[in-house]
Symmetry: C2
Subunit: 137 residues, 2 copies
Amino acid sequence: MNDSELISVLSRRGIRPTQQRIAVYKYLLTHPEHPSADTIYRALVEEYPVFSRTTIYNSLGALIEAGLVRQVNICADEQRFDATVTDHGHFFCKECGKVYDFGFDSPAMVSRLCPRGFIKEQGDVFFTGICKHCYSF
Amino acid sequence: MNDSELISVLSRRGIRPTQQRIAVYKYLLTHPEHPSADTIYRALVEEYPVFSRTTIYNSLGALIEAGLVRQVNICADEQRFDATVTDHGHFFCKECGKVYDFGFDSPAMVSRLCPRGFIKEQGDVFFTGICKHCYSF
DNA sequence: GCATTTGTTTGTATTCATTACAACTTTGCT
DNA sequence: AGCAAAGTTGTAATGAATACAAACAAATGC
């Protein structure tokens, strides 16, 4: 996705396509490893020397509000963020700290877990354990 | 579960059944609404005036290590704790803020979602939305 | 074009959950 | 009893997230 496409995506969602928001969104799109606010900040401050931590949080807030980004509550110590908003699961490796995405064979299955009468807006499946790569040792 | 039963449960899990750990565990067993560390602290300090916040965290850590308690990453701002360790889901109502537990029709279904080669230690299904009671209005 | 207002960014100060640490206490064992 | 190991306590430190006010930019009205 190039910059003009990003601008139109943000505009269509009703938020002003500022340089900072575009940079944050672009970073999330190109780094699907669920970075923390701090990770995003460290990366972007290299590229744009004047970039405030607060702006990271503000931009993430605006993007979440607009439905373009999701918050992932997978680690206890810090929030992680994810530009993939379609239903998918997360696997957190206790060993290497990475968060892996995985799809569902049948997405409807997950919705079927939701109890009757409860209106589901967002669903997440979280697993914690040892990832494929760390288990080899 | 009375105190002597609690003592034997803790002992069997390999942790010393101290008064404080028993108190924390008993609180979680009798309060299934997923309290935070602070909520537990405030409640227990009433009963046992000398009770440190650090002890709450230490006890929770020991109980989690022993597999008797689970950490629930429901809110971004604070950890919640849960003495129900069998696989179950959580529904967070945006309206009333309550966290509902729900079981699965077929628990194996959840494990089947875990990607191949990844060693699952803990699984959690988490829905956000509007609960049955808030939807009625 | 210029002034006004509205929204955004920035940097610093603050909040607050959690952790680190060292002194003290309790428990288990011989 | 006496000793070592484990647990508890309170305070201090950490660090992610938020509040806030000043500076800045962009949109609107004239």
